[in-house]
């Protein structure tokens, strides 16, 4: 009997105990995953969306057998990752964006061939798949170049190609387009979509903090923050949650002390982002009339409105609605805190 779910987690917990020197007070363990429940269907392109440090990579490490959970259960293709990791490894592969692979003195082709050998591929199949994947990532002309001579982006593309060589049943892509240029990212996204659609038994779990990427690619998305799943649904259904709300984006001249905007009547959530000497404010309003008090508050602070746009709710808005902050705000805060 084939398992119902390609990926399934039940109350999955992962804690990290901080290093403690002798005599130091006991520091409580950091909980990276706090009881997550996920069910990914076979054939689905599933997204885990959240800021850096939300627990996405920890979840992928557990599912790819690199890490043991501290509690709960995780199954891949019906196989328990903790009890039978070798069986899980026969069905999976993983690509981490930003990572490279292999050895600088080998050519691109040789590096990829080496990895096919770890899956027992015969040479004919290996060479066919390498050729196909080099075409996909646009590295055909670099096949015979030593990988040490590749640019960072080209090395990432080589690593992306590696992830597909064993034709895994379940593929984990951890921020696959991180640091890649727009054109390459678009090509890779297109390939990922086709790869899943080609055969119905393939499943792909993607982690990203790019909203547009999750929106464009995923059949369903789980929004994760602080190790907890906050919502899980199709992108359309997630956005429907804000259907009754009005979403506005405003650009103003630099604006200080904006915390009290959240206290204004009718304001459900707001987020702010500063760039190029402007302040960008995104508001989710339960009542459009709240806009009048917002504009008057901006004027009172001596700032000027540059632009005002009413738009359809996006995944970003859903995230702000659920978490209270945008992904970029959370990441900026964590950078300044560290």
């Amino acid at each position: 009997m084939s398992p119902t779910w390609a990926i399934e987690t039940e109350n999955l917990i992962r804690e990290y105990k901080p290093k403690r020197k002798r005599g130091d007070k006991e520091i409580p363990a950091f909980r990276a995953l706090d009881g997550i429940n996920l069910q990914v269907r076979t054939g689905e392109l599933f997204g885990l969306l959240g800021p850096n440090g939300a627990g996405k990579t920890t979840a992928i490490k557990i599912l790819t057998t690199l890490l043991l959970p501290s509690g709960g259960v995780a199954r891949v293709d019906g196989v328990d990752v903790a009890n039978d990791p070798q069986e899980v490894r026969r069905r999976i592969n993983m690509v981490s964006g930003g990572d490279t692979c292999g050895y600088g003195l080998l050519t691109v082709e040789e590096n990829l061939w080496m990895f096919t050998q770890f899956y027992g591929l015969d040479n004919t199949t290996a060479r066919e798949r390498i050729k196909k994947m080099l075409d996909v990532v646009g590295l055909q002309d670099k096949a015979k170049s030593k990988s040490t001579h590749l640019s960072t982006g080209q090395k990432q593309k080589m690593n992306f190609a590696r992830g597909f060589l064993n034709d895994p049943k379940i593929l984990f892509l951890d921020e696959p387009t991180l640091g890649l240029d727009v054109q390459t990212s678009r090509v890779l996204r297109q390939f990922v979509r086709e790869w899943v659609r080609e055969r119905p038994n393939r499943t792909l779990l993607l982690t990203t903090h790019y909203m547009a990427e999750a929106d464009e690619l995923c059949d369903r998305i789980a929004i994760i923050n602080h190790g907890k799943i906050l919502a899980c649904d199709t992108p359309a259904n997630l956005k429907k949650r804000l259907q009754s709300a009005a979403v506005f984006k405003l650009h103003t001249t630099p604006l200080e002390q904006i915390e009290h905007f959240s206290d204004l009547p009718g304001v459900t959530n707001f987020s702010e982002h500063r760039h190029n000497g402007r302040t960008e404010l995104s508001f989710i309003l339960s009542n459009e009339n709240a806009l009048i008090s917002i504009l008057s508050a901006i004027q009172q602070k001596g700032a000027h409105l540059i632009s005002l746009e009413k738009r359809e709710p996006s995944l970003e808005d859903v995230f702000v609605h659920l978490v209270g902050k945008s992904i970029s705000e959370i990441e900026e805060q964590s950078v300044s805190a560290s």
């Binding site: 490490k61 690199l66 292999g102 990895f115 050998q117």
Partner: protein, 271 residues
């Protein structure tokens, strides 16, 4: 089962490939790996010559120098290799593949043995042609068997050290550093092990190269009176060490990998 066997051997060849290709593509290693070690060995040769030691001692040094290459290869090119693989991000890709960790290490060993054998051969040839050492092979099959068993036991021991790097980072580096110089003394690389006395020699025999080297010296210089144990006893002990170390390596790799998975130390932060 047949598929697992195929994956195992393909992994060995796949991981040996970068090492084998490296021999061709980075020829600078010939200077650092062959010529420079010869100078260190030559120093011992001249000490023995100056002291007017029996001529077989020069033969001991040359053979010891050749075998040192394998010990250094085990320590620095296999035991510590998982540290570098973790740093570069390759280790996690090896570990998510449905292959044996021993196959990956065997691949490293195979590639390493080829390069090291070139170095060892160069040292032996220098001994014969530059220093006039004469070797007479008593029994080819015994010589080959001793060498083979020494390599199996030695690289098995290296795999046990490798398992430490699955869990630890640079901390495990010190283990390799700690083992390098004392083994020069305890294994009798540059002198016959018998001169350390019976019990010290027995203790030193835990390192496979000690008995391997002693047996090879007896098989290549039959006139020597410096043999520690008889060759057949040394072969039996080496066979036992091979089995023990390979089995222990298998268990150690499984245990340390599991422990590292539990503690989250198979990858470094940010990978």
């Amino acid at each position: 089962m047949r598929h697992e066997f195929t994956v195992f051997w393909r992994t060995v060849l796949g991981r040996a490939y970068p090492r084998l290709i490296g021999i061709q593509r980075e020829k600078s290693w010939m200077v650092f790996g062959v010529f420079l070690p010869l100078l260190g060995i030559a120093a011992y040769v001249f000490i023995y010559k100056a002291l007017k030691s029996p001529p077989e001692f020069v033969g001991f040094v040359i053979l010891g120098g050749a075998m040192t290459a394998y010990w250094l290869n085990v320590l620095w090119s296999m035991a510590t290799q998982f540290y570098w693989e973790k740093e570069t991000g390759n280790l996690q890709l090896y570990l998510i593949a449905p292959t044996s960790r021993m196959a990956i290490l065997m691949g490293m060993a195979l590639g390493g043995i080829v390069a090291t054998t070139i170095r060892a051969t160069a040292i032996l040839l220098a001994g014969i042609f530059v220093f006039g050492v004469q070797y007479t092979v008593v029994s080819w099959w015994q010589l080959i068997l001793v060498f083979f068993l020494t390599m199996v036991a030695l690289y098995g021991l290296g795999m046990i050290f490798s398992s430490l790097f699955l869990l630890f980072g640079r901390e495990a580096w010190h283990v390799s550093s700690l083992l390098q110089e004392p083994i020069y003394l305890l294994s009798g690389f540059y002198f016959p092990i018998k001169s350390l006395g019976y019990w010290v020699s027995i203790g030193a025999s835990i390192v496979p190269i000690t008995l391997g080297l002693d047996a090879m010296r007896q098989l290549l210089m039959p006139a020597t009176q410096w043999g520690f144990l008889s060759v057949s006893v040394e072969i039996a002990i080496l066979a036992a060490l091979s089995l023990i170390f390979v089995f222990a390596a298998h268990r150690a790799l499984l245990y340390m990998e599991n422990l590292a998975r539990r503690e989250g130390r198979l990858t470094i932060r940010g990978q």
